[in-house]
């Protein structure tokens, strides 16, 4: 508890507010004692005087010192505000807990009434009650107190409902304890803290509102005076002596702000602390160490056929972590040829999605991208963004994201979101673009596309939305589609449809595809080539056809093995890869997989294996690359895992 309070005082705003509140309360206590007589003294020599050495803020029309009156007025102002706050909190919490005590039926009426009252501004309610209770300090206290009640009632209602749902309340109810007792015993103690914090803020608001009522002439009446009343008197002589209005105004403001900000800081301080986690690029710059530290051995350097759509060399992504920069992608090289389908697989945290976002330059603020080469259709993507490049990318590079529920803008019609590509990048008119959008929706097998185009994303099913997303990529003439877990968020029944659609598009238009998935089966089915990623590296690059039979990296084999197949005994639990993925903030010096690898030896732990052409790979698959010191070695048999046996015997 003390630590939490200290947190309040530690912020500059919190500290200032705390000091101010203490000062204001001290003034309220001591003010009238110290200056009470001085404030009432009439100086007939100086009536309506401007500020002077004797009267720092001048005098009023009876020659009384304004500054002293402001200081003395603090007690009445604060006292009345506190009284009003007490009324607001008491009335509000009674109303707010009524639904709990009175039960559903009666409670519903109370909360309906509160809801209606809350919709009206506090000042209007205060005026209403000021009429009922009459002009004067008492009336104003009641008016401001009752006007504040609905907001507190709403707050209490929410808080009570939160606590009432908890187990111990249900338990107390089940035992037959009365609702009123439960409220006192179990509910109120749990909501006291937020109520008190809000009451502090409320006190500030009450102080300011009270000044407002007094300023209107509806609050404190002469000869008593609070700050609002002094302001009321002062505004009349603002031309003669401005401080007569400014001094009480400043006092109200300072005191009101003090309570308000104190409450807000306490609320923040007692809440959940902010901080930690991966943050933006702002600090990535600070600690990011130099360029690529090491590289995969690419497919023979210089071998860049015109067929290459995407060419990636030594790609690194750096993000800033809580303790320095973290590198979730650590030197990745690959290329994608026209019409080729590449699958990238790996567990979550392997860097596969980061890689996809980095090569398409969509990482933006999430991290820094370095590479010795990053080219799409011969275009250098590392160069700064230009309008021309946006146009090229916008029409030739398509993205499909994991969650079609959130990937569309909820406030715009599907058709318009597709059409935007054509109006932006192809200079088409709205009408032409819309026609194209409908055509593309039809192309991705959305029935009744004309009508569908006019609907909003929430009116689409998940599978249909994902197809529309693919349709969006087809607005131009894509050379590459990057699909990041396109089926993961979908129903099993529609997953296949989406995969089939991607496969069909690829075949029809010779579009290259990068398919990112945690699921080896999915990529194996759709892709020609598979990149297996682990801890921000490619650990194996192999033809999809060899996945089941000729995978050489222990991790790839474990992934394949984790897939249930005909030989899996359905009664056995699924084989999983033991151990945890590497924390990108803490990558070991040797092979990153060594911790989990059954073949790991001393060399593995000391030296980092490079991704290199696999010497043992069959001659008909020259592009098979692997990063392992013991690639293809038989895996030891684990007694509890029969499917491993199968794998070991299979090569």
């Amino acid at each position: 508890m003390q630590g939490r309070w200290r947190r309040v005082v530690r912020t500059p705003l919190g500290l200032t507010a705390t000091v101010l509140v203490v000062a204001v309360v001290a003034l309220a206590v001591l003010g009238p004692v110290l200056w009470g007589s001085g404030a009432g003294a009439v100086d007939t020599d100086a009536i309506l005087a401007r500020p002077s050495a004797r009267h720092w803020a001048g005098t009023d029309n009876l020659g009384r010192d304004i500054l002293l009156r402001v200081l003395v007025a603090s007690r009445l102002s604060i006292l009345l505000a506190l009284l009003a706050t007490v009324i607001a909190v008491v009335a509000g919490s009674l109303l707010g807990s009524a639904p709990f005590v009175l039960g559903r039926r009666t409670g519903r009426w109370v909360s309906a009434g509160v809801n209606i009252a809350v919709a009206f501004p506090g000042l209007l309610l205060a005026l209403f009650f000021a009429v009922v209770f009459g002009v004067g300090a008492t009336g104003a206290v009641l008016a401001i107190g009752l006007a504040g009640a609905p907001a507190f009632a709403r707050l209490t209602q929410t808080l009570v409902a939160g606590v009432a749902a908890r187990d111990y309340v249900a338990a107390a109810r089940a035992v037959g304890i009365g609702r009123f007792r439960i409220l006192l015993r179990h509910v109120l103690p749990n909501i006291a803290e937020p109520l008190v914090v809000n009451a502090t803020i409320g006190a500030g608001t009450a102080l300011l509102s009270f000044a407002g009522l007094s300023f209107l002439g509806l609050g404190v009446q002469s000869p008593s005076y609070d700050w609002g009343r002094l302001l009321y008197d002062g505004i009349g002589m603002i031309y003669v002596n401005a401080p007569a209005a400014l001094a009480p105004g400043a006092a109200v403001l300072l005191a009101g702000l003090a309570f308000n900000l104190f409450g807000e800081s306490v609320a923040k301080g007692l809440g959940v602390p902010v901080g930690g986690g991966l943050r933006g690029v702002g600090s990535a710059r600070a600690g990011a160490a130099s360029g690529p530290e090491r590289t995969d051995q690419g497919e023979e350097a210089g071998d860049r056929s015109p067929e290459v759509v995407l060419d990636v060399r030594d790609l690194e992504v750096t993000v800033s972590g809580p303790s320095g920069p973290v590198r979730p992608v650590r030197g990745v090289s690959f290329d994608v040829r026209r019409g080729e389908a590449i699958g990238i697989v790996g567990e979550s945290g392997s860097g596969k999605s980061m890689t996809a976002l980095a090569v398409t330059r969509l990482l933006a603020d999430h991290g820094r991208v370095d590479a010795s080469r990053l080219e799409f259709l011969g275009d250098d993507l590392l160069a700064p963004d230009t309008a021309v490049r946006r146009r090229t990318l916008g029409t030739t590079l398509a993205m499909v994201f994991q969650d079609p529920m959130t990937a569309f803008n909820p406030t715009r019609r599907i058709g318009a979101q597709l059409a935007e590509v054509a109006t932006r990048h192809q200079g088409r008119s709205r009408k032409e673009a819309m026609a194209r959008a409908v055509d593309r929706l039809t192309a991705v097998r959305i029935p009744d596309a004309d009508r569908r185009a006019r609907q909003y994303p929430h009116e689409f099913s998940g599978g249909m939305r994902q197809r529309a997303m693919i349709g969006m990529g087809l607005m131009g003439a894509p050379a590459l589609i990057v699909a990041d877990e396109p089926t993961t968020a979908l129903d099993v029944t529609v997953q296949q449809q989406v995969l089939d659609l991607l496969a069909a598009i690829r075949e029809a238009d010779d579009v290259a595809l990068i398919l990112i998935s945690h699921d080896v089966t999915v990529v194996g089915e759709v892709c020609d080539r598979i990149l297996v990623m682990y801890a921000g590296r490619i650990v194996e690059d192999l033809p999809a056809a060899e996945l089941a039979t000729a995978a050489r990296h222990p991790y790839t084999r474990a992934l394949v093995d984790a897939v249930p197949d005909m030989n899996t005994d359905p009664t056995e639990p699924l084989a999983t890869i033991p151990g945890r993925p590497v924390d990108p903030a803490d990558v070991p010096p040797g092979c990153a997989y060594a911790d989990r690898c059954p073949l790991a030896d001393a060399r593995c732990e000391a030296e980092d294996p490079l991704l290199a052409a696999d010497p043992a790979a069959p001659a008909d698959s020259p592009r098979h690359r692997v990063a392992c010191w013991q690639a293809g070695e038989p895996l030891p048999v684990r007694p509890d895992d029969r499917s491993i046996d199968d794998l070991v015997e299979s090569p």
Binding site: R108, A112, A119, L124, L127, G280, D403, H458
Partner: protein, 335 residues
Amino acid sequence: MPATLTVPSPPVDPARPRLWALPSVRFGVRRLRRLLVSLWVLVTASFAMIHLIPGDPVRGALGPTAPADLVAARRHALGLDGPILVQYLHYLKGLVTGDLGTSLASQLPVSDVVAQRLPATLILAGLAFLTAVVLAIPLGVVTGVLTRRGRGRRTELAFTTTSIIVATIPDFLIGVALVYVFAIQLGWLPVAGDATASAYVLPVFSLAIGPAAILARIVRVEMVGVLEADFIRTARAKRLPARAIYVGHALPNAVTAALTVGGLLLGALVAGTVLVENVFAWPGLGSTIVRSIITKDYPVVQAIVLVYGVGVLIVNLVVDVAIALLDPRSKIRED
């Protein structure tokens, strides 16, 4: 937040299931019902106001020395001498026919008083709201973009602190400060009245600055949130220019939430005119209601409270409809 009533939903008429199935129809009916209930509560409250006054309001208004027959006559003039139910029905009938009673102070029909004073208040509130929106949205969007994903920590802190403080200052104090600086010290702008165009500047800004600060803060927070959303990544994948992403895709989504709060602010702004009008001697409803409260001119007070209340209800309705149009999901969400 507009009032949410949990009244059991009406039975679905099997003859017209199609119409009722439309979300917009359901939304409209529900919203209308809420409006009517709120309106009824408001009217009843304004009727009850005079009866809630402890003691005898007529005697209170006329003073203890007034002769008894004058009190009785006045009570009759106010319609306070029949059984309460009759009075209530009489009051309702008056409202429907536009008869709001007669001012005790001026002997003029209250409807004339309101009609004469309302335009000045409407213009003041409308201009102030526009000013607040025009100030807040660009400010919120720009700081939102500058502080996205934990960038610009200092900008964020400075902006948040300033806006919290500014938002806490009541409008009438801003008014006093503006008068001091611009009317008295600099002498640029008139201090009171609505005679010239320049006389609008200070009252409008006094009312607008606080709401603008709150609104800008909300727009910023929403922008920061929206900029993290997947559909922004989609917009970037479409390779739209930055401005199209921020204004075309992020802003509409940020504004939806801002609008909810904006509605509350506008409601508060309607009431805030009362204080500001009194600072600037603005010839609107606000200065009238205060004078009437002090002189116990109850028919005028009742009518103006009613007008303010209706104003707030209309604002809430407009905001709800605007949100429903802007964010098509909200109609369904409430179901």
